[in-house]
């Protein structure tokens, strides 16, 4: 039986086990008084228990067997091959074995399939069949055994609920660990690659260097000199653009949220909120060419009109457009938390003769602050991680400057440029991407910790 068929049958068995367990628990119980039984747990818990007893071992075996059987069968086939094939080199042997497996699976012999190969293919097929048969038998046997053993445990005083809930808890722990372990895995791999990078470029040069020019020689014979990997211009560029974006998005977003939740009537709200959320759904590429083709020229012309000389690509253009992009993150979340502030709290303030704006400033905003900070944080991480707009509007030049009218570049943009195009995967140029990633991760982590701390402090004070 193929695996999916085994699974379906197994599922049917489990349902059967569930019904059996539930029925049995009702049968072994005695009625104490009108409709109450002396069972420890409710009947369906006994059903789940049986299903788990039958399901967990058999599924585990099924999983392991399916995972390992092809490699075992292959190695068995290989060890039975005639000695002249055995003596071939490792690469050639695996080529032959592949040929045999193909032969077995397609079932079509062609001109160069020799007699020993045909034999081996037949051998492979029979092994495969035996394995499948055995697997089916073992899995079903385990499931049925599980049901039988489980049924013996169904007694009124048996704590089926506790057992089932314990298993469910482990399943949940398992799910939670997957997320955590994945994060750990990513961080570790980035860390490891970064360490590789720091072998060729000193850590201090990377962290404190003010010059970024990652062009190293790709081939030995190329004249290109050694690149310089000072990350400071990238970090300042990232911070500059994010700061511009937040300066735009936070006040506008917050004001929007206050207007929508406190002043706007239902009709305005029901139109404005979805429209704002559409703003969040526009692809960043669209924002990008908007920034490059409309905003950047506008800034250049305006700058020239007042006697400044902005470059054609500027941090300001990217920052402004990015700010518009993240307004919905601030406004939507803030609107939700402001609306969630209980009306009774506002009433308390109005009842003391406070005006609407006094109430908003002194009661509503403080009460909603943790949520507002959350929204701003989300917006900030979007800004820091944004790539497309910067590529298109702020350029690739790693200038170390605080002047928003000059071209700058950000960490994410440089990661993209480092990893696109052809290069070796162990050159410092490529590995620098991992170091930048690590830096970005550290910065966002620090930001998160700080704001969590602020929010917690605030909560302690006011909750």
């Amino acid at each position: 039986m193929p695996v999916n068929f085994i699974l379906i049958t197994l599922l049917a068995l489990l349902i059967f086990g569930f019904i059996l367990g539930r029925a049995r628990s009702i049968k072994v119980a005695t009625e104490v008084r009108n409709g109450r039984y002396n069972l420890h747990s409710r009947p369906y818990y006994y059903g789940y228990m049986i299903a788990l007893w039958a399901g967990i071992p058999s599924l585990l075996i099924l999983l392991l067997w399916t995972g390992f059987d092809s490699s075992i069968v292959t190695s068995l086939t290989a060890s039975d091959l005639p000695s002249e094939i055995q003596e071939l080199s490792k690469d050639e042997r695996s080529l032959v074995i592949n040929e045999i497996i193909n032969l077995a699976e397609s079932g079509k012999a062609d001109v160069n399939s020799s007699e020993p190969k045909l034999q081996a293919a037949a051998h492979y097929l029979s092994l495969k069949n035996i394995s499948l048969m055995a697997k089916t038998v073992v899995v079903f046997a385990l499931a049925i055994l599980g049901i039988i053993i489980g049924l013996r445990f169904v007694k009124p005083e048996f704590r089926a609920r506790n057992q089932v809930e314990k298993i469910v808890r482990w399943v949940m722990i398992g799910c939670a660990s997957i997320a955590i372990l994945t994060t750990f895995g990513i961080v570790l791999s980035v860390l490891f690659e970064s360490l590789q990078f720091f072998k060729s470029v000193p850590f201090t040069d990377f962290l404190f260097g003010t010059h970024w020019n990652p062009q190293t020689a790709i081939r030995e014979d190329q004249v290109g000199g050694s690149g310089s990997f000072g990350a400071i211009p990238l970090f300042t560029g990232t911070l500059l653009i994010s700061a511009i974006a937040l300066t735009i998005a936070v006040p506008i977003g917050l004001m929007t949220a206050i207007y929508l939740s406190e002043y706007a009537n239902q009709a305005v709200r029901s139109i404005a909120k979805p429209v704002l959320e559409i703003l969040a759904g526009i692809p960043t590429v669209v924002y990008g060419f908007f920034a490059a083709l409309t905003v950047a020229p506008f800034i250049r012309e305006t700058g020239e009109a007042i006697g400044l000389h902005p470059s054609s690509e500027s941090a300001l253009a990217a920052g402004v457009v990015m700010g518009v992009m993240i307004i919905p993150f601030v406004s939507s979340l803030s609107d939700d938390v402001i609306s969630a502030v209980p009306q009774a709290m506002r009433d308390g303030s109005y009842g003391m003769g406070a005006t609407k704006s006094e109430t908003i400033r002194q009661v509503v905003i403080p009460a909603a602050l943790p949520g507002i900070v959350g929204g701003v944080l989300l917006a900030a991480s979007r800004a820091i991680g944004e790539t497309m707009i910067v590529v298109m509007a702020a350029g690739l030049a790693a200038n170390l400057t605080a002047n928003p009218l000059e071209a700058v570049t950000t960490i994410t943009v440089q990661i993209v440029t480092l990893l696109t195009g052809d290069q070796e995967f162990d050159s410092p140029k490529t590995l620098a991407a991992f170091a930048l990633g690590l830096g970005l991760f550290t910065v966002t982590l620090i930001l998160n910790v700080i704001s969590l701390h602020v929010v917690r402090k605030y909560r302690e004070q006011y909750e």
Binding site: M345, D347, G351, G353, V363
Partner: protein
Amino acid sequence: MVTAMTDTTKEKQMTDQRDSINDRVANKESESNAADNRSSMDDIHKNEEFDIEINGTVGKPFVDNVKMSSRNCDVFYGDKQAIFDVNVDIGNHEILAMIGPSGCGKSTYLRVLNRMNDTIPICRVTGEHKLDGEDIYSKKMDPVLLRARVGMVFQKPNPFPKSIYDNVAYGAKLHGLVRTRSDLDDLVEKSLIRAGLWKEVKDDLHKPGTGLSGGQQQRLCIARTIAVDPEVILMDEPTSALDPIATALIEELMIELSGKYTIAIVTHSMQQAARVSNRTAYFHLGKLVEVNETDKVFTNPEHKLTENYITGRFG
């Protein structure tokens, strides 16, 4: 014990009144307990008593020395009418108690008096309402200024997400009632003492007000209302979460405050109405059934519904 009451005769009179009424209410209550044990025939009986028609307000709804007044007051929540043609005066330095079954519109009427209903979009108030002869619903009247004059203690305690100190100082700071920090400190302390909360919180003034117990929050809300020194104080079940000692303290505070302010209080405790109020108003299904001197309401009510209510036959 707070004894700021200057008018000792008034106090004496109140005490007498309280005692006699308390006896009477207690008697009626034991009667009603007995009634509870009777068969379901009584429920039908109750419904009949429920059906008595209400034609205008009986008793003495109007007074000479008027502080606030309402004429032809109707209140609607959307299409649903919650208050029907209420006509009543609240006298200067008087304590008016409002009693009645749950949902009969006591809170709604109280909120009419400082335009708190403005904050409920579907709520519509009609009729003529005056404070010191001024129409409080006229275009000229700013509800913000009105509420500074007519303060309110809400049914559910609603402290601000601020420290205890800032909760009490909130209104005074808004209205610029004090000039120096030490004046503010004094005001906060005085208000908390009067609300009977000072002893419990004097070392924790900078802890959040929301961290207090329900009863403490209620007293905090009373403290913050009296701190702004309004002319009229509306209290919606101000002692519903308080123990007897704190309740007695708040009742004394009310009697003390009535020397200077006008007070309207909603209460479910008839003993409380009897103990503190000068007049009592009985609301029933959105209508004002009877307004009379408190001792008259509790000893010899004019309306059958009032009598049924205070003797515990329904409600």
